[in-house]
Symmetry: C2
Subunit: 177 residues, 2 copies
């Protein structure tokens, strides 16, 4: 009986430990370093802003989605983006589709393969004043990448756009009708 109690206690402690570890890793709790940006829960249902292909090292095909505040600003051409704007960039491996090319008149079809990563930009002009009003995060398999240097490279790149276009508010993507 005593033995059983100790086993039960050990099991309870183990369960608690495992739960705690899982709780800490729940995707909805995951936040990017530096900015504390989360992957929005319903981003996959957000409205399309545009699409792009990055050749070179990334070699991905991507879609840029926005929440209602961001999409409204894109459609109205409003800059800077209002606080609360969130832009999500999804990317997938850029793959030639031999299946589609069997049907199409020539080898011409490139499609989205497995997902690579998701990058999120959140506008909060006070909280993120030091980075032009934007907070950033990169996510793989729903988990926030915890690499501080990688996360800081978001602003380091976006801020370069400011020299080219003062009124772009550090956003590369234009809305596609």
């Amino acid at each position: 009986m005593k033995r059983l109690s100790i086993s039960s206690l050990a099991f309870a402690i183990l369960s608690f430990g495992v739960s705690a570890v899982f709780a800490a890793q729940r995707p909805e709790d995951q936040r990017s370093p530096v900015y504390g940006v989360k992957l929005p829960e319903d981003y996959r249902d957000w409205t399309l802003i545009s699409v792009a292909h990055e050749a070179g090292r990334n070699n991905d095909i991507r879609a840029i989605l926005g929440n209602d505040i961001a999409v409204k600003a894109f459609r109205a051409g409003k800059r800077p983006f209002p606080d609360g704007s969130v832009i999500v960039r999804l990317a997938w491996q850029y793959q030639s589709s031999s299946r589609n090319d069997t049907v199409f008149p020539a080898p011409q079809s490139f499609v989205a393969g497995p997902p690579t990563n998701i990058q999120v930009s959140v506008k909060d002009s006070k909280r993120y004043a030091a980075s032009g009003g934007w907070g950033y995060g990169q996510f793989e398999n729903g988990m926030a990448n915890q690499d501080t240097m990688l996360t800081q490279s978001c602003f380091a790149c976006h801020v370069k756009l400011d020299a080219l276009e003062k009124n772009a508010d550090l956003v590369f993507t234009a809305y596609s009708q």
Copy 2:
């Protein structure tokens, strides 16, 4: 006085004629030949299914959106698609972005230029039984292309997929997470 009345009458007839022509061309009234498919009013807010690049003659970059019925089926892997599924393929000219490449580490950015056309697939297994349950339409500037041969070429191409994948239900696009 009589002259004025005749002028008024002529003006009224002319106005009626112009109105009738404009009414016939209202985008929301426009339907594709063969299938009578309309451009759905709110398609631009629909959920993203996937993205692709067509090289070759089209040389476009595209996004495939779906209405709730279609997206639910895509996510559940349900085939054939239920009646009421609507899939909208938007396409834009595939353009190298010299602006983005100024900022990026190498020439690597390809973006969506001006829109080319929008293709719509509507599932109605009874109405479109003769074309595998799908009705098709192509739209430019919101207007249905009235070319019958072009419209018939949709099914002529989609049906080729059946020889490769019996369970694709004539749909090229796969859902991208």
